[in-house]
């Protein structure tokens, strides 16, 4: 970008404002000056920006030798909701969730049958706490086992209108998702079997 005349002070103010906003760390006056067109006066532009923001919801604060935007301290109460630490769901939990979503209502025994391992109490509890699954009707079979179904919170989180909108096995395969071989544990080297796609469709309801 070439400028023959230095930009106006109003222009320079816009530049400082935008740089401070987008920067991942506080910026020094020298750093801002280096990015601005020749003939700019970053110190004066910064002073103007600071005046503009005085008393507003955000302010320009000094951090060592550098400057950054920070929200006004008296508005900290507005930020409390955002303090959420997100962690990836464990493999056991996401697999359990996926099975419930695809096969709902699903009993614990059915989940265990598909995963081939016992489902820990903690996994179900965690999914219930997230409000992604809830109890469905009891199954009318011996023992009257409880079933699990997915919730509206689940649909909302995953951007689905309906659990039936989840792609079937054939579509997963077409999208390349079935190609992702799991870690080479045990017998996992054989290709996916066509028969099984049909079985999955039977379950889908």
């Amino acid at each position: 970008m070439t400028h023959f005349a230095p930009p106006t002070m109003a222009e320079q103010e816009r530049m400082v404002e935008a740089m401070l906003f987008a920067a991942a760390a506080p910026l020094s006056v020298a750093e801002m000056g280096a990015r601005m067109p020749q003939g700019s006066d970053p110190a004066e532009a910064l002073a103007a920006v600071r005046r503009t923001y005085a008393g507003r919801g955000v302010a320009v604060v000094r951090v060592g030798d550098a400057w950054a935007f920070r929200t006004a301290p008296d508005l900290a109460f507005l930020m409390q909701r955002e303090v959420v630490e997100t962690r990836k769901l464990s493999r056991a939990a996401i697999e359990t969730l996926a099975i419930i979503a695809y096969h709902q209502p699903a009993t614990r025994a059915e989940i265990e049958e598909i995963r081939g391992v016992a489902v820990s109490r903690g996994t179900i509890d965690q999914l219930m706490e997230l409000e992604w699954i809830r109890l469905g009707r009891r199954r009318m079979t011996p023992g009257r086992p409880v079933t699990f179904v997915v919730t509206d919170v689940f649909l909302d989180h995953f951007g689905l209108e309906n659990a039936r909108d989840l792609p079937g096995l054939n579509e997963l395969r077409a999208a390349g998702l079935l190609e992702n071989r799991p870690a080479p544990d045990a017998a996992d080297q054989i290709g996916p079997d066509e028969e099984d796609a049909g079985q999955a469709e039977l379950f889908e309801e």
Partner: protein, 252 residues
């Protein structure tokens, strides 16, 4: 340079380019640009000629073309011959003009989507031209741990369990599975009752209509069975429209 060599080079240039084409439609679109007219006024016969010439040259050079290029060539050859023939008033199929117009529409639509994609990518993009807050604020107190997963994680997890499933001994209980062999055996015994058109659904075995999985399995098995019987010439099949009941009748 000799004429022969020149031709050969031109042909090879074209062939080498095939790698850069995303299928026959893309190739046709490129060829159409040589006509330098509005895509709506393009000459489909001329385009067909160019395309067929390209396929011939590929054959001369013994270059193997993907099947869809050859399918397109066959279709264009057919279209070209139809365009040259006088219209047959007895022919109720689509006219050659309609087919040509549709191809022109497809080319125009593909070009429009290309242009739209280019316009989209030329827009100011977040993280390239416009920026979000670079340092979203660290917020205080009320630390709450939540877990997250994306839809793609969920689908991958499901794919993983299903893939793994295939390597376990197959222990699924078969009480809800009706096989095609069973259905065939059953329907064969009932063959003489199919004098008039009846719905296939009415012939499902008792007790298989209520549970969804059982109903599906029985329906699928019986459907496959009647297809087999139709193939053997034992019965006839018909269906009014998509999703309408499938009807069967004994043949002869």
């Amino acid at each position: 340079m000799e004429q022969h060599t020149q031709n050969r080079l031109a042909a090879e240039a074209l062939i080498v380019d095939v790698e850069g084409f995303e299928g026959p439609l893309d190739m046709l679109l490129s060829l159409s640009r040589t006509q330098k007219v509005d895509l709506r006024r393009i000459s489909i016969s001329e385009l067909a000629n160019q395309y067929l010439m390209f396929v011939e040259r590929a054959a001369e050079l013994r270059i193997e073309l993907a099947a869809d290029y050859l399918v397109m060539a066959a279709w264009l050859a057919y279209l070209k011959s139809r365009l040259l023939l006088p219209v047959d008033p007895e022919d109720h199929g689509p006219s050659a003009e309609d087919m040509a117009a549709h191809l022109a529409f497809q080319l125009e639509r593909l070009q429009a989507m290309r242009d739209a994609a280019a316009q989209l990518m030329a827009r100011d993009q977040l993280g390239r031209d416009i920026f979000a807050r670079g340092e979203p604020e660290h917020l205080v107190a009320n630390r709450r741990v939540t877990h997250t997963a994306s839809l793609i994680d969920l689908m991958r997890a499901y794919a993983r369990t299903r893939t793994r499933d295939e390597f376990r001994p197959f222990v699924m209980d078969r009480k809800n599975i009706f096989t095609m062999e069973e259905a065939l055996e059953r329907m064969r015994g009932m063959l003489n009752y199919f004098g008039a058109w009846t719905d296939l659904n009415e012939h499902l075995p008792e007790g298989w209509g209520l549970h969804p999985a059982r109903r599906r399995s029985a329906t699928a098995a019986h459907f496959a069975a009647v297809l087999e019987m139709a193939k053997r010439g034992q019965i006839e099949l018909r269906q009014g429209e998509t999703f309408a009941p499938i009807q069967i009748r004994k043949r002869g």
